[in-house]
Amino acid sequence: MNDDKFFAWLDDELDPADAAEMQARVAADPELKRLAEQHRALGAHLRSAFDPIAEAPVPERLEAALRPTAQVIDFAAARRTRSMPALAQWSAMAATLAIGILVGTQVPRGSSAPVEAQAGQLYAAASLNRALDTELASAPAGDVRIGITYRDQAGEICRSFTGAAGSGLACRSGTRWRMKGLFAAPEGQGSDYRMAAGMDPNLAALVDSTISGEPFDEAHEKAARDKGWR
């Protein structure tokens, strides 16, 4: 018998007429019938062994490999037009922060520090506050670059940003930007590396866990700014 045709029948690859013919042959032949059953069981066995891989959570590093693209595109223009001046405050802050979400201690004091603590919360200040208020991802200027802008699950607008020594996420709280996370750049890696490598995986995870819907596009981002980020 023609093996290829038998298996093509088993895999639903035959046209209806050939399939009906093969079906009849299998029905009349106990040996073929048994073979068909064995191969169906084998297929099921293979799928039951491999399917759980597709059902398991995808490791973070693979998710992270996917995320940077939007950022890389946004930053490409920035990379061409200028290089970042290193910001002393950012470096100082990054040095004192553990990677992860800030707990509000050891924040540098002073009028030009990019964050300030108030009633146990951290808010953007100085140049960071100005950047969050006014800058668009599509038109980077100054020493803080805006990444993505989106609405979080509570309905507030959030914006990711990158400075010379770290990146973070801030969400609108009244008329201020409350810090949701700050992540130091890996030791010895400047902003050029960050642009090439895309969003910090910790920041990407934070965005993922808070975002509702899609990030704003250019027009949406501009309209949101014009309405005062409400």
Partner: protein
């Protein structure tokens, strides 16, 4: 961002399946995830070459398969019985919970790993990933008769190895 996101979203949705295919190809969990990562990176870099309207999944599977062939070739030039360099850096996690599940996976993977490469990829694409003969023939650039005969030989050998247990 707008024009990029449908591609990225589709690619993200494909990730679990690509990972499954990588496990079938490379037989080792750590290698499989390395291969998946390499395939994602290659797909993102080659984004412009993908033609909207054609199947993104076939395109990505082909990228992965070609990468894997390159890797396998490079590996076979090294001493075959030496542990790969990266083994000490990270032991792959079996993505499945429970010991029993791991045993099943091992048994089938063991049988799969004893198949010749060209049979294993066809078995994985058709019996596990659910592609049709025609799709696989286009993906691998092989005549459909070659695909179907490799599949017959592969599944027959697998049945001999797994079916008896």
């Amino acid at each position: 961002m707008d024009q990029a996101s449908p591609f990225d979203d589709q690619l993200a949705a494909l990730l679990p399946r690509l990972r499954r295919f990588a496990h079938a190809l490379s037989r080792d969990a750590a290698d499989a995830d390395d291969l998946t990562q390499a395939a994602i990176e290659r797909a993102l870099r080659s984004k412009a070459q993908w033609q909207p309207g054609t199947r993104l999944d076939s395109w990505c599977y082909r990228i992965m398969r070609n990468l894997w062939i390159d890797t396998a070739r490079a590996r076979s030039r090294k001493a075959t019985h030496e542990a790969p360099e990266e083994e000490g850096l990270g032991v792959g996690e079996d993505p499945r919970p429970g010991i029993e599940a791991a045993v099943d996976l091992h048994r089938v993977m063991d049988a799969m790993s004893r198949l010749p490469d060209e049979q294993r990829e066809v078995v994985a694409l058709i019996l596990v990933e659910g592609f049709g003969y025609r799709e696989v023939s286009e993906m691998l650039g092989l005549p459909i008769g070659t695909v179907s005969s490799r599949l017959v030989r592969g599944r027959t050998a697998l049945l001999a190895m797994v079916g008896e247990q």
